[in-house]
Symmetry: none
Subunit: 417 residues, 2 copies
């Protein structure tokens, strides 16, 4: 299909100016802070709804706080290619994480609408109310409502002011008792596509504006406690020590080594504390965290087993005790192969090498995977920095991302069609 | 001189019961935690002051937080044989480290006082306010004030609540601006003698209750700060990381390895902190402490250089920055030969083989060595465990230690006299 596409420059400029406009709705402090069911949330969806209508879409706030834009296909009521991402941010986050996945598809639909193009399927764009989960310590709230996997028990959770989620939703004009009606039937949604900043350094280091996501990594988290023997730093000979921190140091390196042995796996020790924590006392106990991710669940499980076994070996050799508690075991979400192929075609059509990479961070597409086939397109971000006021993308990359997405949308067909 | 000594059993029972009473003044948690200028410090010196007065001594709190007991000699104002040790503890420490060196001499003076004995010199017993330096990351605070080597710049240091040492001292009723008046003239102090638990395994393995100390090992302490690059735990490939904690882990093992290469040298990393310290963020910065000790100064300096060089090598290889600040460089302090000889006579008079051994731990006597001649007597402790709630000595050993100390005191004479 030959397509008359809007220029990259024009798309990029529109996306950057809209990201800036949305970023102004912030609770204050550095960067953008916009939480679920706040006046900033309201201001954001009012603005986004306006852009949706301007692009020829209807815009409706669902009972769970998602703003849903719909652009009908060749006839009303056709099943939809769903796109979107989250409107909320972390505390002091950036302007692109989530927002790009709302703004870019709207610009694409505006392009279709301008040319009077109707596709053999509808398009829906969702501005999910809450993905980061900052206000109520939840995640993927909006996308789970649509996927039909919303856990009603979270409605009782309270924010830092003691307001329950249920109350916050009512105050926002939502209908928490009707959340189940938000869930879609499988035959209403053809697939879910999300465009998102990479939040990592791979595309930048490869010199590419965009990349095709293969999977959203699963994540295992562990809390490790090492019990050794405290003692006086001056009087216990090195040969008689059971230093919990020296043991933990070896384990930190084992995590690094084990996860570094194979590409695609990442492992991080982000927290560590030594007890008693005095300059002149051999640490008697150490606690540290492990976060391990891999695109495939089998790989992740295998690497977690290798980490656990390395920790126990080190503990045994050093005469310390290691207790490992698994605090999170979230399975990964592979992107659907035919979705990856169609994104790849669109990337190639822009003359870009179609790099495939996995996502180490979680995204709304993870929740939608329970409902439909998913695909994701990553856009390069500066130095991989995200969840930070310094989060940045270029207008050129935003424009390229939107052009690739538009190609993907216009050429979208279900497998076998 | 024939001396009518109190029985070992009686002395031992008194010392054990007083150590237990003092140990109750603790901030909570396992073992004893008593830091400088806290309400626990106040409670401890109130109790110690009572014991001093009961033993016929005056008891005065000096401007730097030392409680000084004085027992006059045959006439008032004579120069003093000074004894004592520190009232403060490490975090979760034991009941004897420091305290034995306060309690045992008080029991000795009580014995003299009961018999109406006045010596040709005064006796002073000091409960030093701060030796461990837990609260303000300082050491030998009280003994340095008396030795005239107090470094006023440490008054600006802050504790973990942001309170400066100067403020903490004022809140305690002390006079930081008058610390220089605490310093003694050389002609006021004949010598300094400290009785202390060994905090190591030598006396136990030799089957001896007490031993004569030959030297206190020198100690170098460093504060190391590693600056790497923070990042999302899920999105930065292992090959692109500059993980400050992984670098620090390698450095902790380098300290262990370097110090373990030669007997008599010890090295410890007791403190570590990672920033930002979130489970899903690669640490961008880490701070840790290094404590290295050796009996000879040349050996210590050589091992410190090897540690520094290993840290810089690791930093360079990993693309992180290491800043090393030397926070303490305390030379070793040999005990004065004539003091060792007089302690040895006292040990032999109790029918004990006079083993001589060096101290791997620092003691207040180190600071006093700048003012006067020093000597130390070690008492056996269980399994060499110290700086630990499990620190233990027997009542019999405590009694033997006090008897040896009393013999030493009554026979004390300056060399040539």
């Amino acid at each position: 299909m030959s397509i008359e596409l809007p220029p990259v420059k024009e798309l990029g400029a529109e996306i950057m100016s809209r990201a800036e406009a949305l970023g102004r709705f912030s609770e204050g402090g550095p960067g953008v802070t916009r939480r679920f069911c706040t006046k900033e949330h309201r201001a954001a969806i009012d603005l986004i709804g306006g852009w949706m209508r301007e692009a020829g879409m209807s815009a409706t706030l669902d009972a769970s706080g998602n703003l849903v834009g719909r652009y009908e296909g060749t006839k009303p009521g056709l099943p939809a290619l769903m796109m979107g991402s989250h409107q909320d941010t972390v505390l002091s986050g950036g302007r692109y994480d989530g927002m790009l996945g709302i703004i870019a598809p709207i610009s694409c639909v505006a392009g279709l609408n301008k040319r009077g193009v109707r596709l053999p399927h509808a398009i829906e764009i969702v501005a999910f109310g809450d993905e980061e989960g900052v206000r109520f310590q939840t995640t993927l709230l909006g996308s789970r409502a649509i996927a039909g996997t919303f856990d009603k028990s979270v409605l009782a959770r309270k924010d830092s002011d003691g307001v329950t989620m249920e109350q916050a939703m009512r105050d926002f004009g939502l209908a928490p008792e009707k959340i189940s009606t938000v869930a879609r039937r499988k035959d209403q949604v053809l697939a879910f596509a999300e465009i998102h900043i990479e939040q990592g350094p791979v595309l930048e280091s490869e010199g590419l504006a965009v990349g095709v996501v293969t999977a959203i990594a699963g994540c295992t988290r562990m809390a490790v406690r090492i019990a050794g023997m405290a003692g006086h730093a001056g009087t216990v000979p090195m040969t008689q020590r059971h230093d919990a921190l020296a043991a933990a140091a070896e384990m930190v390196l084992a995590v690094e080594h084990t996860c570094g042995a194979e590409p695609g796996i990442v492992g991080t020790v982000g927290q560590i504390a030594a007890e008693p924590g005095a300059i002149n006392v051999i640490p008697g106990a150490v606690r540290f965290s492990v976060d391990a991710r891999a695109p495939e669940n089998a790989k992740r499980k295998a690497v977690v087993e290798r980490i656990k076994s390395a920790i126990q070996d080190i503990a045994e050799r050093r005469g310390v005790e290691a207790r490992i508690e698994t605090t999170l075991d979230a399975k990964g979400s592979p992107c659907t192969p035919w979705m990856m192929d169609q994104f790849q075609e669109a990337v190639e059509a822009e003359g870009i090498e179609p790099l495939r990479l996995f996502s180490g961070a979680g995204h709304d597409a993870m929740a939608l995977a329970d409902l439909t086939d998913i695909g994701m397109l990553f856009v390069r971000c500066e130095r991989g920095i995200s969840h930070n006021p310094a989060e940045a993308i270029t207008a050129a990359d935003a424009g390229i991302g939107a052009r690739v997405l538009l190609r993907f949308i216009e050429n979208f067909r279900q497998p076998g069609n």
